[in-house]
């Protein structure tokens, strides 16, 4: 089974407000009021984050790079380590919803019927649904680049609705399913316009 590898940017914030009576004595430097830490994505890559205040800006682009924001908007960079971040933000990180997982299904050529391989994914989809809190299915149709954009938008939505109907007849509740049509915007295999490409005529079923 594949591990979900999701390109993501993870940021986490902690804001600690100081009450009037908990102001530090003047001889000690005031602690930052807010901390921001960039985390690595689940796939090991790291995105980027800009932290902007009225008096400055910092770009974070390495794992565990952080920004400390002080009163009146002063902002300073600070490196963190993974263990400290995991502990400090344990509650927020522990409540992260499960990452969405997608399955791609295909039609038998020229018919409104899914291929046998596609139907074989339904058990895995049901298994994913069973493990998740308040599960939803998002069914998104795609086309190749033959035809106009507007035509492909309509066609991709029709494909998604066909798959939704198959899912419902397989026993999945209609109320859990939403549909979308991406048209030709997101080809699995990039092609020039007007090129027929069966691998791009597909429907993506995302469980989240």
């Amino acid at each position: 089974m594949m591990h979900p590898a999701i390109p993501i940017v993870l940021i986490s914030l902690l804001i600690s407000f100081l009450g009037e009576d908990s102001k530090p004595p003047p001889e000690k430097p005031a602690p930052p009021q807010e901390n921001v830490v960039l985390l690595p994505d689940a796939d090991g890559k790291t995105g980027a984050l800009t932290v902007t205040t009225p008096s400055g800006a910092i770009v974070l682009d390495r794992p565990y790079a952080g920004a400390d924001v002080f009163a009146r908007g002063r902002v300073e960079g600070r490196e963190h380590d993974a263990d400290t971040v995991q502990k400090r933000y344990a509650a927020a990180l522990g409540a992260r919803p499960p990452a969405p997982v997608s399955f791609t299904v295909y039609f038998v050529f020229g018919r409104e019927e899914l291929t046998a391989d596609s139907l074989a994914l339904f058990d895995r989809i049901r298994a994913e649904l069973a493990t998740r809190p308040a599960p939803e299915l998002v069914v998104t149709g795609h086309t190749d680049r033959v035809g106009a954009v507007a035509y492909n938008d309509a066609l991709s939505l029709k494909r998604a609705e066909t798959v939704r109907d198959v899912l419902v007849s397989a026993g999945i509740k209609a109320g859990q399913i939403s549909t979308a049509g991406r048209g030709e915007r997101e080809p699995a295999v990039p092609t020039a316009d007007e090129v027929p490409e069966p691998r791009n005529r597909r429907v993506e079923i995302t469980v989240r």
Binding site: P4, A5, I6, P7, I8, V9, L10, I11, S12, L13, L14, I15, Q33, E34, L39, D41, D43, G47, L49, T50, V51, T52, T53, A67, V69, G73, V75, Y89, A91, A92, G94, A95, R96, P97, P98, A99, P100, S102, F103, T104, V105, Y106, D117, L121, R124, R132, P133, A134, V138, T140, S178, A180, R182, G183, R185, E186, A188, V189, E204, T206
Partner: protein
């Protein structure tokens, strides 16, 4: 949509408090509040994942998402407490349209790459 709620979590909407239980929908303008030893996990329609720790206040100021074009906008504020964010489809399509605010700073999310795996019929995005 609320996916995970531990302890005391409420959604404040138009001055009324609603319990934040898994399956509850989140709307633009909602204020999500966690109590002591509480936490909440939220999946937005563009697959952005938000989760807040205890004693936190998160406001979804704006959320727009077009599931055909992936155009959209997210404006969210952390008023208090802790939040973890995994950005979603809007940040991938138009990162300049995603902003997280704290009382003193504005965070801009940028630079995620888009990946599709085609192979055994499963793509993970």
């Amino acid at each position: 949509m609320i996916k995970i709620a531990n302890g005391a979590v409420t959604i404040e909407r138009s001055g009324e408090k609603h319990p934040a239980t898994p399956g509850a929908r989140i709307e633009a303008g909602d204020r999500v509040v966690t109590g002591r030893d509480s936490s909440v996990g939220i999946t937005l329609r563009d697959n952005t994942l938000l989760s807040a720790g205890s004693d936190s206040v998160l406001v979804i100021d704006k959320f727009l998402f077009n599931s055909t074009t992936h155009a959209g906008e997210i404006d969210a504020s952390v008023k208090r407490g802790s939040l973890s964010v995994i950005s979603g489809k809007i940040a991938r399509q138009s990162p300049e349209s995603v902003r997280f605010r704290t009382p003193n700073a504005i965070l801009g999310v940028r630079g995620t790459s888009f990946v599709i795996d085609v192979g055994d019929g499963e793509t993970v995005q």
